[in-house]
């Protein structure tokens, strides 16, 4: 049987020096917690999990992308400020101010691993891109599990995650001339009468 995720995390960090693994807990009754990997060691961690003698996570069932757009949180804070009164005298008073913090968005790749040999699972791996613009690169896990081949292509096609090391990274459901990423939350579909780029351009 699989140990709890914290135990998996400690074993990974003990086996692969330098790897940082973060447990992401899941609040739903399913209690399927996941492990967030760093980019540099993701391949090594994946190979470790696949070849582990007791766990043998030889089957990557599901791979998918998730979009988390930029969010802006605003909070009211009290600030002490010098306030000029009507008669010209200055006094320090507490004033409400709205502070806005911008949380940059990111794209996420999620992998669900099972074991066909030991018949257990899932172990859930996650990787996050730096942002949603230029830095959408992630290491591909297709060399470890072939089953991610089409699914990573789909995440590239619909989310725009670029998987470095993928053998054949092309659009899979949309056609080659298509430009946008339809599964992103801020995607705006073209108007009905728009002339879309041709398949054979």
């Amino acid at each position: 049987m699989l140990p709890p995720v914290e135990e998996i995390k400690t074993q990974i960090e003990a086996a692969i020096p330098g790897a940082t693994v973060t447990v992401i807990s899941n609040g739903s009754p399913s209690a399927q917690h996941s492990l967030l990997l760093d980019h540099a060691h993701a391949r090594a961690v994946a190979e470790f999990l696949r070849d582990h003698a007791e766990w043998r996570l030889d089957f990557c069932s599901l791979m998918t992308g998730v979009d988390w757009p930029d969010t802006e949180t605003s909070e009211k804070i009290k600030v002490k400020k010098l306030v000029k009164a009507a008669d010209g005298s200055e006094s320090e008073q507490e004033v409400d101010e709205v502070r806005k913090t911008k949380v940059p968005g990111r794209l996420e790749a999620v992998y669900h691993l099972f074991s066909m040999e030991k018949k257990h699972g899932p172990v859930i791996l996650r990787m996050r891109t730096a942002d949603r613009g230029e830095g959408t690169h992630l290491p591909s896990l297709t060399p470890v599990w072939r089953s991610a081949e089409f699914q990573e292509r789909e995440a590239f096609d619909l989310y725009g995650i670029v998987f470095d090391g993928h053998p054949d990274l092309r659009r899979i459901l949309m056609w080659d001339g298509f430009v946008d990423y339809p599964m992103r939350k801020d995607y705006v579909p073209p108007p009905d009468d728009a002339v879309l780029p041709e398949v054979h351009s």
């Binding site: 899941n26 609040g27 739903s28 009754p29 399913s30 399927q32 030889d58 089957f59 990557c60 069932s61 599901l62 998918t64 998730v66 999620v110 669900h112 066909m116 018949k119 899932p122 859930i124 599990w145 072939r146 089953s147 991610a148 081949e149 089409f150 699914q151 619909l158 092309r170 899979i172 459901l173 949309m174 056609w175 080659d176 339809p182 599964m183 054979h200 351009s201």
Partner: protein
């Protein structure tokens, strides 16, 4: 641009060796709009790239824009031959996400309709596969005769033959009457005879054996690594059936075997369907014998205004084509933040090229037939 567009490089007329062909998207053997970019050396396949997406409608985005409940009728249209199992995969994931329990009678009815679905899917697949091999008409009509009986039962239960829209979170939409259950019992009693007839029709046929044995061999290691599931995986000799592994629903109460192949060739994949039909009949007999009374849905479950707590869940079932899974992320609102289908037939296509390399062009048609794809699910 994909490299398939650079035609002049591949059409080397002077050497006359490599020819590039586009099988599909309107090829009758693809059962939909599916294309195989094939490179041939004589009649031998040296490269094959599946191309799909012609039926893409972004099912996942549609579901993310609607309430949890409104995605159920859309799941019918994924694998449009097996709407019941699609419903089950989705409601199972939502039940995991929101922690909903299902009444016992509903669990039994789910097993009954899912196994009837599996039966008609496998019968239809074998019929189509034999049709692709040149056995025109007869096997397909035998299969469809039986499939019609199952669809008639679905129609009287749910009102629809193919787009059943039958399951709900925490149970089922309507209960089955005693009359309906008797009709199913009557049909199930006659099914073993049909399977015998269907198997004897062509099992030991010389042409069938010559064209399928040792053709399109899929090794055990590759099948596991490439995430192949369902009868195709078991034909390669891997004992992995989610009904046995996860024991979802009430599958742990039935005794049935998981048939397995040895060679992983097209013949094994064909036989796997026949053997699974026999096991399905066994499960149906037990479920019809043991089905309890009681409600089929928990009335406290909120169907329309379902708002699961923030979190995520992955639910999966053994659909006739393989592992059908649904991955849902909830952000606490009334519609799923992320809705993802794990389509078994698309992932099974990953190994299509590996199985076809070195085979004759005519055999790719049968190999594709033995994968069992439905384009509604591949393209989504």
């Amino acid at each position: 641009m994909s490299e398939t567009m650079t035609a002049p490089e591949t059409l080397d007329f002077e050497r006359g060796e490599i020819m590039e062909m586009s099988m599909g998207p309107h090829h009758p053997s693809t059962h939909g709009v599916f294309r195989m970019d094939v490179r041939l050396e004589g009649e031998r396949v040296v490269r094959l790239k599946p191309v799909f997406g012609y039926l893409h409608r972004n099912h996942e985005k549609i579901a993310e824009n609607g309430a949890y409940l409104s995605a159920i009728p859309y799941t019918d249209r994924l694998d449009y031959l097996c709407s019941m199992t699609n419903n089950w995969g989705y409601v199972l994931a939502v039940e995991k996400l929101a922690g909903i329990a299902v009444p016992e009678r509903a669990e039994y009815l789910r097993v009954i309709v899912a196994e009837l679905t599996r039966f008609q899917n496998h019968a239809g697949l074998v019929g189509f596969m034999l049709q692709d091999m040149g056995a025109s008409g007869t096997p397909l009509m035998y299969a469809f005769r039986e499939r019609e009986k199952v669809l008639d039962l679905f129609e009287s239960l749910t009102g629809a033959r193919m787009m059943c829209n039958y399951m709900r979170f925490g149970g089922l939409r309507v209960d089955a009457s005693a009359v309906w259950l008797d009709e199913v019992r009557d049909l199930v009693g006659r099914l073993p005879r049909f399977v015998d007839e269907f198997e004897n029709l062509l099992r030991a046929n010389e042409i069938l054996m010559a064209r399928t044995q040792n053709v399109g061999v899929l090794s055990r290691e590759l099948a596991v690594n490439a995430g192949v599931t369902g009868p195709m995986l078991r034909a390669s000799g891997v004992n992995y059936d989610i009904r046995k592994v996860d024991k979802y629903g009430v599958y742990d109460r039935f005794s049935f075997r998981v048939p397995m192949g040895e060679h992983g060739d097209t013949y094994d994949r064909y036989m796997m369907r026949i053997l699974e039909m026999r096991e399905t009949v066994k499960i149906l007999e037990q479920a019809l014998r043991d089905i309890p009374g009681g409600p089929v849905i928990d009335p406290k479950v909120r169907l329309r205004g379902l708002r699961p707590k923030a979190g995520e869940a992955y639910g999966r079932i053994e659909s006739p084509k393989g592992e059908l899974g649904f991955f849902l992320i909830s952000d606490g609102t009334g519609n799923p933040y992320r809705y993802r289908v794990r389509p078994p037939s698309m992932i099974n296509l990953t190994v299509l090229e590996d199985m076809c390399l070195g085979e004759n062009i005519a055999d790719t048609v049968i190999i594709l037939g033995s994968v069992d794809i439905v384009l509604g699910e591949v393209d989504r």
